[in-house]
């Protein structure tokens, strides 16, 4: 038996307790007279009674330990390998680091500047000089170095420290925990309007945001009704998100 069309919109709100007390009473009175609507509400409540519960959900053994193991070893090698170039560049960077260390060139542990920053290996070089055992780590995996990036909050809106934002997007998934592509009107959101792009390429504006600013930006986009063109959660153990605003 079908419910009344003129009450269809109210029945789910009634079942979910989302109506005002007056409307709840009105619907309840209607249910006493309408078998079709009453059958729908009965079914909805039966569904609820039989619905699976979260407590019945089986979690894989050791899941929490697995999450914590990743957190504890945030510099561990990532799983993604994208061809020979990153691995080769990482090895090259490791060699450079060894040479620099042997020659006693001071690159303090907090330094983000690289004396050879004009190559595509800039990111690897910067990070690898901070790695305790660069040769072994670099041989194991290509993204080892990227995962030792500076913590969130230290790289926002910093033109000098943000060469990563100029890296090709194909490499960005190993450098950022999220990549958000936005239309041009996103530049009107308060966060982007107040910030400074960390890079510009072919008319695209690129921003590096901390996790907190990234969440704030998502809220501002929602409030503005601006839909992202694309949003990717990369899985990289970075604390920085890349935002790309497309060219007009």
């Amino acid at each position: 038996m079908k419910y009344c069309d003129d009450h269809a919109a109210l029945l789910d709100l009634y079942v979910d307790g989302e109506l005002s007390p007056g409307d709840m009473a009105a619907v309840r009175a209607h249910l006493g007279q309408c078998p079709g609507c009453r059958a729908y509400v009965d079914d909805a409540l039966a569904l609820r009674a039989a619905f699976p519960s979260a407590e019945d959900t089986e979690v894989p053994p050791g899941f929490a330990q697995g999450v914590m193991a990743i957190i504890q070893t945030q510099a561990a090698p990532a799983k993604k390998v994208r061809g020979p170039w990153p691995r080769l560049l990482a090895s090259l960077a490791a060699c450079c680091a060894i040479v620099l260390l042997v020659r006693g060139v001071g690159l303090g542990s907090g330094s983000k500047a690289s004396p050879t920053a004009d190559t595509a290996a800039t990111m690897e070089t910067e990070a690898c000089v901070e790695a305790p055992a660069p040769t072994a780590q670099a041989e194991e995996d290509d993204t080892t170095c990227a995962l030792t990036a500076a913590p969130a909050g230290e790289v926002q809106y910093d033109n000098t420290a943000s060469k990563n934002a100029l890296e090709p997007l194909s490499r960005a998934s190993s450098l950022y925990f999220a990549i958000l592509t936005l239309p041009e009107d996103a530049l009107e959101t308060p966060l982007l309007a107040d910030g400074t792009a960390t890079g510009t390429e072919d008319g695209e504006q690129r921003y590096e945001l901390s996790a907190g600013d990234y969440a704030t930006l998502l809220d501002q986009l929602d409030a503005s009704g601006i839909q992202p063109i694309a949003r990717e959660q990369t899985g990289a153990e970075s604390e920085t998100a890349l935002v790309v605003v497309t060219a007009p």
């Binding site: 979910d16 307790g17 989302e18 619907v27 699976p52 999450v67 990743i70 969130a152 925990f177």
Partner: protein, 202 residues
Amino acid sequence: MNQEQNWIDAARRGDQSAFEQLVRLYEKRIFALTLRMCKNPEDAAEAAQEAFLAAWQGLRFFRGDANFSTWLYRLASNACVDLLRREGRHRAAAGPSLDDGALNLEAPDHALSPQEQAERSELRAQIEAGLAALPPDHRQVLILREIHQLTYDEIAGVLSLDLGTVKSRISRGRKQLRKILLESGNFSAAPASKRAEKEGCK
């Protein structure tokens, strides 16, 4: 201050053991969402892991103006959507190929007779299959409403939707699910028939 809030505060200061307590507290609820959104245990585990890692990375910026739980559901929901999009699995996820064996949702309810338990289990299996056949957007809101028992406002916050969209999706999703169950021939509203005239349930 409750224990959960203590853990949140400690985790924000970098206390990993406190964060592990939060992972253990929420892992079932997060899996309840990711399993049904991603549809296979491997993807569900990946999405759940991404959600917790994102929580750890973002916790120091968590402003506390939303519930920790709804924030976590949002991260999990985003992780599922991103995973489905990244892997191009939207089409596959819309199919009715639920791996029931992996979900293990047949916990006995000791208040019911054996026959009632069997009927409840049958209906639960039908619900799982029906949920799997719904479009992801409709499945998502029903899971948050029925399993996580969020209000419409909370769902709107988790999914960054306006309230009208939440209402519409819940209504459509529930009507679709009911239709699927009615057509399956195994759905009977008898257990709840006395309650309809009393009031809706939160």
